[in-house]
Subunit: 83 residues, 2 copies
């Protein structure tokens, strides 16, 4: 399954609770799009969030965010994990 890092930059007013809540909504939505959100990293001062997600396509990964909470990433980069 392809792997993507989605990059959200400078979300205004981002909090730890907000990003946790959004992630929970991703987890509740992902199976509709055959996606699996594996992990995320964030900075609540800069408003940056990085989500690692397996999905059949970039579009499928984007749709999970769209449906779950509407906070679509600024960029989605297909990646391979280092060995």
């Amino acid at each position: 399954m392809p792997l993507f890092l989605d990059i959200h930059r400078h979300i205004p007013g981002l909090t730890k609770d907000a990003v946790e809540g959004a992630h929970q909504r991703d987890l509740a939505t992902q199976s509709k799009h055959d996606a699996k959100f594996l992990n995320y990293w964030f900075n609540d001062r800069t408003g940056d969030v990085f989500c690692l997600v397996e999905a059949p396509s970039k579009e499928a990964a984007v749709r999970v965010h769209q449906e779950a909470h509407g906070l679509v990433a600024d960029e989605v980069v297909e990646v391979r994990e280092g060995e």
Copy 2:
């Protein structure tokens, strides 16, 4: 220990072997700076690399790359991992 995601964008001519070699040099260098490179993700078409690293400071994380192979990240973002 603080956690950082370092972001390298559009490295010309990036290959899987090159990024693996650079990562091995990071691993060989990191202890001098009390850093620990945990994982990385890359795209050899776009030339993007994302390294997840524990380090005492952003500067320490940068110095590992400087000494190991000279490919300093475009940006280093302090992050917390999602729970």
